[in-house]
């Protein structure tokens, strides 16, 4: 199985010829102006990648095409829920694709916490993480992902792209479950540290 997609050309410059911030602008324009041109630019970049994501989850090509289309329809219909203060556009699009994948392929709903806007981000009751809930910096994250060792990225990709649980990753790679978890912890720790978080 092909796991490695390393050393690919950094694509921050060419999200359909746009930067990450232009992706945010496009999604915002879809939400606010029902901007069809902006939506088509989003489709051009994301639909083929969402389709690829669905194929990695084990769907056949036609179903993956259909699920990618359905994700794009949901992006159009839910765009007004996107809050640029909280997440990068790519993060929001990933969540829409992931939740649709779970709903259609696994037949259940992934529960996520929905916070009332007035509660965030100040409701930390002295936990010492006042600035914690700000939006993660997508460009910084992209650079950090490229620095992760191959064995950590393999485990991360199996979880994200194939939706494998820790025990399934352990079986697939023939490594103990403790190793799967420690690689995930190392990868996430490095990313969070690089993002400037207090670990």
């Amino acid at each position: 199985m092909m796991l490695a997609v390393t050393n690919i050309i950094p694509e921050s410059e060419n999200i359909a010829g746009a930067s990450a911030s232009e992706t945010v602008d496009r999604l915002t324009s879809v939400a606010v102006n029902r901007d069809r041109h902006a939506f088509e630019r989003l489709y051009g970049y994301f639909a083929p990648r969402i389709k690829s994501y669905m194929i990695r989850q084990g769907t056949d090509e036609a179903s993956a095409d259909d699920l990618a289309q359905e994700t794009m329809v949901q992006i159009w219909r839910k765009a007004h829920h996107y809050d640029p203060q909280k997440a990068a556009a790519t993060t929001w699009i990933f969540r829409v694709a992931r939740n649709l994948r779970i709903d259609r392929l696994r037949k259940y709903k992934l529960h996520e916490v929905e916070m009332p806007p007035e509660v965030e981000p100040g409701d930390d009751e002295g936990s010492g993480h006042e600035s914690y809930e700000k939006r993660p910096d997508a460009d910084k994250l992209r650079a950090l992902v490229d620095t992760l060792p191959q064995n950590q990225m393999d485990v991360v990709r199996l979880a994200y792209f194939e939706g494998l649980s820790h025990s399934e990753v352990s079986l697939q790679l023939s490594i103990p479950i403790g190793t799967v978890k420690s690689r995930l912890r190392l990868a996430f720790g490095k990313l969070r540290m690089g993002m400037g978080e207090k670990i």
């Binding site: 990648r49 690829s52 990695r56 529960h111 936990s127 990709r157």
Partner: protein
């Protein structure tokens, strides 16, 4: 709320990746309602998903894919999908749990498992070979020593318990896997009510406990 125990990084990543059961997602979301620290970690794990998605090798869409998308969009009125309901804890009970407890946590139909321990199974939540349940443990009661075949997430809703890992109070989440064997003891005062999700069966270590297992069905 002073939360001291949080889910493992590996669990947060699996959650964001969509590689956990529905039951696990429910308990994790319930914890995050009162834990801004973990909401921040989740935001980062979701951002990692976005980053990985945008670096995927593209697979060409069907030739009329975009047209099909427009016809799907235009076939229905362009109504805005309302935002999901927000979750706010009510009397210490996570908001996300409330739809599953229509009569409230104080009038649940508890079933006695063994002296001092009562349970209420929440049905209809995808959990693999595991389950989602509430346990009510009388003050001072000891839960028999057990390990887990898969994972177990325990969120304390009310009261507190202590085990080898420390003291767990309201809002704390214990994230256990097969490598951990523990023997929780409910603290004195009020009963300890926990929300527990497993994704596989538990394994009790003593002979007496093993006999109980089929009965309890944990």
């Amino acid at each position: 709320m002073n939360i001291k125990h949080h889910p493992d990084d590996a669990t947060i990543l699996a959650y964001a990746a969509g590689a956990v059961t529905e039951g696990f997602s429910l308990v994790l979301a319930a914890h995050m309602e009162s834990c801004p620290h973990c909401r921040g970690r989740m935001a980062e794990a979701n951002a990692l998903g976005g980053e990985l998605l945008s670096e995927m090798q593209p697979a060409a869409m069907s030739a009329n894919g975009l047209e099909d998308v427009w016809s799907r969009i235009d076939s229905e009125p362009d109504e805005e999908i309302p935002a999901a309901t927000c979750h706010v804890p009510v009397d210490g009970v996570p908001g996300i749990l409330i739809p599953y407890l229509p009569d409230g946590i104080d009038s649940l139909h508890w079933r006695s498992l063994m002296p001092g321990i009562r349970q209420h199974v929440i049905n209809g939540i995808e959990s693999g070979r595991g389950s989602v349940r509430l346990l009510s443990i009388a003050p001072g009661t000891i839960i028999p020593h057990h390990t887990h075949l898969g994972g177990e997430l325990t969120l304390v809703i009310k009261g507190a318990y202590t085990d080898e890992m420390g003291c767990f109070q309201s809002g704390d989440l214990a994230d256990l896997d097969a490598s951990v064997s523990h023997q929780p003891v409910a603290e004195s005062g009020e009963p300890c009510i926990c929300l527990i999700a497993t994704d596989d069966r538990l394994r009790f270590s003593g002979v007496f406990s093993r006999m109980l297992q089929p009965l309890i069905g944990i």
